[in-house]
Amino acid sequence: MSEQFEPVIVGFLCNWCSYRAADLAGTARIKYAPSLRPIRVMCSGRVDPQFVLKAFINGADGVLIAGCHPGECHYLNGNIKTLRRFLLLKNTLSQWGIEDERVQLQWASASEGIILAERVNKMTEEIRALGPLRWYDKVLGGNGAVPIPVKEK
């Protein structure tokens, strides 16, 4: 493949801080990698680990969860719960062989458009270095519907 691989990153951005940070990045015309597919959630604590797994099975190369800084959660401590889930999810995903770089957490307040943009840039480069994930065809081999042939020695 001569063309450069463009990763797809699904972003779950909290309504109160990070989505506004992304908005700000837009209005401030900050240029950053076009890899993020933002999804607004009310709180980063709303991000069910199932969402992350679904993003992967549906073709995402990475998932970015972004929320308010600890202590600034609109719902008091939703983001602390996010952090606990995120760390346990990372432990679990490492058993799956999914690299740490593919699931990241970023705190970004409504004024930190630049921080969010920089994180997306950095993450895009990290995932580009890892290569595409393509769980559905590469790992499952046609959704597991066809037997995966024995590997040639």
Partner: protein, 339 residues
């Protein structure tokens, strides 16, 4: 034979331990009723039936087929297709057929690693010539063949259409009997069957609803492995730091394991509305960890939480003990960029 023929019953095992067959026999005296009501036409565990018998039946000949066991190799898959063709109602019986169960834990590794552990590098193995099963072996008398061993264990509904699911490892006798009664009622008296694709012989809520242990607000400082503590007999096990999958598991068994001090393993699968049991368990258990608050510095916060998270040994194997094949990602990646 009377004017009305008896409905025909089959039971088959694919990749399973045989416990499901025993669970059917475990319905006690009702087994006599089963024998009275049904003609058993294929049940290799209890009577001598051959595949050629099954092949000789016309399509749809079997009224009810209880299929247990996961799809581990090409033979399992072939039998699943054959039984689907010959059966009117195909039931994924037990956790293996429903969601992969223990055999699907090998989806956490690769076929090569599994073979290595089973045939080569294992303290109880003496295999100096490093012999491993081959699909085709030539001997003087001709060619011998074995089924293709898949890299990924699949659930029954990932290879054929399934009419009903009966969860459990194994399903509980009263539930089995209740389901058989519904089927008999439908076949003999024309009573309505449950909607296609239904999970039968189980509840819809989480197991905690059936569990009699005292539950308070959950707040866990750290987790313990079962050998590390003697649990209080009345309190919720999870609140005592023992991983209990009850909060993410379908009710139906009557909370047997928690009632004797063992955390729920999750064999009844996810409750209604949940796709991925392990992810839900992970989410719930992480949010009730009593560690870290807003006042801490970020690095300290991460370290403290990581410490508690690390007290959960083997999270993938614990949360997905029974549901690996039916989870969203189904298996692990073999390695970097490898398929």
């Amino acid at each position: 034979m009377g004017a009305k023929e008896k409905p025909k019953l089959a039971m088959y095992w694919a990749s399973s331990c045989g416990g499901c067959e025993i669970s059917v026999l475990n319905i006690h005296e009702h087994i006599l009723t089963v024998d009275e009501v049904f003609d058993i036409v294929f049940f290799p565990c209890i009577a001598d039936f051959k595949i050629k018998d099954l092949k000789s039946y016309p399509d749809g000949h079997i009224d009810v087929c209880l299929f247990n066991g996961a799809i581990r190799n090409s033979e399992n898959e072939e039998m699943a297709h054959l039984l689907r063709k010959k059966s009117k109602i195909l039931v994924a019986y037990g956790s293996c057929a429903y969601e992969g169960c223990i055999p699907a834990l090998s989806n956490l590794t690769t076929k090569d690693a599994t073979f290595d552990k089973v045939y080569l590098n294992n303290p109880s193995i003496d295999n100096p010539d490093n012999v491993i099963p081959q699909q085709v072996t030539k001997v003087a008398e001709g060619e011998l063949t074995l089924p293709l061993f898949y890299n990924t264990v699949k659930s029954l509904d990932q290879v054929v259409n399934v009419d009903y699911y009966l969860p459990g490892c194994p399903p509980e006798p009263p539930q089995i009997w209740a389901v058989l009664q519904v089927i008999v009622g439908a076949l003999l008296e024309g009573q309505p069957l449950p909607p296609a694709g239904a999970i039968v012989g189980a509840g819809t809520t989480a197991l905690c609803e059936e569990c009699e242990r005292e539950k308070q607000e959950k707040s866990i400082d750290r987790f313990y492995r079962p050998y590390e503590v003697v649990p209080d007999p009345d309190e919720c096990l999870l609140e005592q730091g023992l991983v209990c999958l009850g909060i993410a598991t379908r009710a139906g068994c009557g909370a047997l394991c928690p009632s004797v001090g063992i955390g729920c393993r999750g064999c009844y699968g996810p409750p209604e509305g949940v796709i991925d049991q392990g992810a839900k368990m992970l989410s719930a258990i992480a949010s009730v960890m009593n560690v870290g608050d807003e006042s801490m510095e970020e690095d300290e916060l991460v370290d403290k939480i990581q410490e508690v998270v690390d007290t959960i040994a083997d999270p993938a194997g614990t949360f997905y003990r029974f549901s690996m094949a039916h989870s969203i990602l189904r298996r692990v990646k073999n390695g970097k960029g490898d398929s």
